[in-house]
């Protein structure tokens, strides 16, 4: 098993004498991506600043490549660890190549003059983040997405083994978020970088991370692979999300369910129900849904948004009990919606439910 390249041992960090986050024990190997998640103000940035030694540890230590960072010189650290922080960079009259070239700092001589070899590395780094064509542009005129890429190139020019990024995807649109994370993924896999970052986007964190640490209540509340972290209960607890819920299967968030007696019964399935559930939620109409097998695409969303969901166990045709319950609900609800137009052996009973609603005069096609 490869050694942990970066690890913290019982690290406490904070501003002044007061620790904000205590007992931080994180470990990351080269080639792995560690993501910090947690609510605003929980201290993700503080932990990162402690790791990169911009905040003095109140107690505990950070080990880089097996050595305590406190015993290393600035130069030694700079050749192993580089950063991309949220601090706004507004350099005067600097091209993107100049900004990236600043990353060669730990390798140049007394006056910081770059050799041809250094410039080659600069352009290689720009190439890697797909910013080669921006090299001569004025840095301050770039869009946020381009800026982040150039700053990432700067970090790569330091030829680090650990890359620390504080919310690198903030202010980026979806395309640039995905692009940046894909680059990070490549860097971790191909260049064997250890990547430590903080993210707000849970869906992305779930997909990109090898390890996830939850910063909450002044500590690392949980630390492990994403499969262990991203459960509905834990995410709800982490963010104190009372007015909505998190669906781990989709990595998506749903808003709060409308409360009250169900006004509408939705006969759904195979994804056809999801837009209907969401529209009812937006309009604040409490609804019941059914009958859904628990492996149905609609099931997680219906459970998150519906007042009641009549369900059947996976891969089974709809049984008597579920049918009776659904029929009872259809009789209570003033309106029944059925976005389904095909039925098969497994949901034959749903066709009967739709028929029932029609004879009762409650079936509506107005979604």
């Amino acid at each position: 098993m490869e050694e942990f390249y970066l690890r913290t041992r019982d690290l406490s960090v904070g501003y002044g004498k007061k620790p904000l986050v205590e007992h931080v024990d994180l470990r990351v190997r080269r080639g792995e991506i560690l993501t910090l998640i947690g609510p605003n103000g929980a201290g993700k940035t503080t932990v990162l600043r402690g790791i990169i030694r911009q905040l003095d540890a109140l107690c505990g230590a950070v080990y880089l490549d097996g050595r305590a960072m406190a015993d290393m010189t600035e130069g030694e650290i700079a050749r192993r660890l580089s950063v991309l922080m949220t601090q706004r960079v507004r350099p005067e009259l600097m091209t993107c190549a100049d900004v990236a070239a600043a990353g060669r700092y730990p390798y140049t001589g007394r006056l910081g003059v770059l050799s041809q070899k250094d410039w080659d590395k600069v352009y290689e780094a720009l190439e890697l983040v797909h910013a080669r064509d921006l090299a001569r542009e004025d840095f301050t005129r770039l869009s946020d997405g381009q800026r982040q890429r150039v700053l990432l190139a700067r970090a790569l020019c330091q030829e680090p083994e650990v890359l620390v990024l504080d919310e690198p995807t903030s202010f980026l649109d979806i395309r640039h978020k995905l692009e940046l994370l894909a680059i990070l993924k490549d860097l971790a896999r191909e260049r064997r970088l250890a990547v430590v970052l903080s993210l707000h986007e849970l869906d992305l964190a779930q997909k990109v991370s090898d390890l996830v640490a939850c910063v909450h209540n002044g500590a690392i509340e949980r630390f492990g692979p994403p499969e262990e972290i991203f459960t509905e209960e834990h995410i709800a607890q982490l963010y104190g999300a009372a007015r909505g819920s998190y669906i781990p299967d989709f990595g998506c968030l749903e808003l709060e369910r409308p409360a009250g007696e169900p006004q509408v019964f939705v006969i759904g399935g195979a994804g056809r129900g999801i837009p209907v559930y969401r529209r009812l939620q937006r309009r604040g109409v409490p609804f019941a849904a059914g009958v859904l097998q628990e492996n149905d695409l609609d099931f997680p969303v219906a459970s998150a948004l519906g007042v009641e969901v009549v369900s059947e166990i996976p891969f089974q045709p709809i049984g008597r009990a579920a049918f009776d319950r659904a029929a009872a609900l259809i009789r209570i609800c003033p309106k029944v919606l059925c976005p389904l137009d095909v039925f098969g052996p497994l949901n034959e009973k749903n066709r009967e439910l739709a028929e029932l609603a029609r004879t009762e005069g409650r079936l509506s096609y107005d979604f």
Partner: protein, 338 residues
């Protein structure tokens, strides 16, 4: 790369040529007329005792050298402060640093004159440095509370007014002798500078400039902000202290010999950045020095000759040229921030 290098060389050549030309122009103009040919002839031969020779060697040449050296020192000092505050409107004059130095220098002069002593160059520089550091200390304290540069500049101007008021007060009530001289000096002037002073200022400015040049690498990193500078291996605390000390030494040296000179510290670095189209310290430090020298030679020429034989204070001339540049820059920044 090569095209850039050619551009930078051309810019440096232009600045050097301007410096030499303006220097010569300064040498030949004045109440006693000397032609350019005569001047060159006299320069390349030892002083021969003639009137023309002594005017050139004893009065004009030291003044030309002083204007070039001090003008250069002032612009470099401005460039350092701009790097420190990450803002192009910072400068030793607008932040009240020159005025602080002016106050301590005039106090020292009056104190020494009152005891029948003349103040030596070293004593004046030391006094100016102390004053500059006191003003600087105030500004640094204020900068922790005020994060907007415009407010900091307003505070600097206030500090400047307070120091000037106290200076005027002590000058008015000081003993009569040499007061005329002191009064001239407190308005800012390159007159009355002789060889011994030129030697001292060349040594002090030369050393400070060399140390500044050696700081150009961390300065470049610092232009990306403190966090990145530190992550690249800059010892930020030490670097900031060095920056403050050097910029104070440079502006103190100017104030000790020429009094407060306004706006050079902001205008020249801005002009140089526009000329070179870069803010890289390794280029800007020498460029600001050359450009500041040329700028002050031009201003001194105008100050001496425009209403000859009456001399204008150097600050009035530098303000006329420098203040519009500063206004233009502030207006431009507002537009960029919006």
């Amino acid at each position: 790369m090569t095209r850039l290098r050619a551009r930078y060389s051309a810019c440096f050549a232009l600045l050097a040529a301007l410096l030499v030309l303006l220097g010569l122009w300064n040498l030949v103009s004045g109440s006693a007329s000397v032609t350019a040919g005569q001047a060159l002839g006299l320069l390349f031969s030892p002083p021969d005792g003639s009137t023309a020779s002594s005017i050139l060697w004893e009065m004009r040449l030291p003044r030309v050298l002083a204007a070039a050296i001090l003008g250069g020192a002032l612009s470099v000092s401005g460039f350092l402060l701009q790097t420190f505050f990450a803002n192009p409107i910072a400068g030793p004059f607008v932040l009240g640093i020159s005025s602080g130095a002016k106050l301590t220098v005039s106090l020292t002069m009056i104190f020494l004159l009152g005891r029948g002593l003349t103040a030596g160059s070293a004593a004046l520089i030391a006094a100016a440095f102390a004053g500059a550091m006191i003003s600087m200390g105030f500004i640094l304290l204020l900068s922790r509370r005020l994060h907007r540069m415009s407010l900091l500049v307003v505070c600097g101007v206030m500090i400047g007014y307070i120091c000037s008021a106290v200076t005027d007060f002590v000058v008015t009530f000081a003993d009569d002798s040499n007061i005329v001289n002191l009064h001239n000096w407190s308005m800012g002037s390159f007159s009355g500078i002789y060889w011994d002073s030129v030697g001292v200022m060349a040594a002090v400015v030369g050393l400070a400039l060399l140390l500044t040049f050696l700081l150009s690498k961390p300065m470049g990193a610092y232009q990306l902000g403190e966090v990145y500078a530190r992550s690249m291996g800059v010892n930020v605390r030490r670097f900031r202290a060095e920056l403050i000390l050097l910029s104070s030494v440079l502006s103190a040296c100017v104030t000790a010999f020429a009094g407060p000179v306004s706006f050079v510290g902001i205008a020249v670095p801005h002009l140089m950045k526009s000329l070179f189209r870069t803010a890289r310290p390794i280029l800007m430090i020498p460029a600001c020095f050359l450009g500041g020298g040329a700028f002050c030679l031009l201003c001194d020429l105008i100050a001496r000759t425009l209403f000859a034989p009456t001399e204008l204070s150097i600050s009035s001339v530098t303000a006329v040229f420098g203040a519009p540049v500063v206004l233009y820059m502030m207006a431009g920044r507002r537009a960029a921030e919006r």
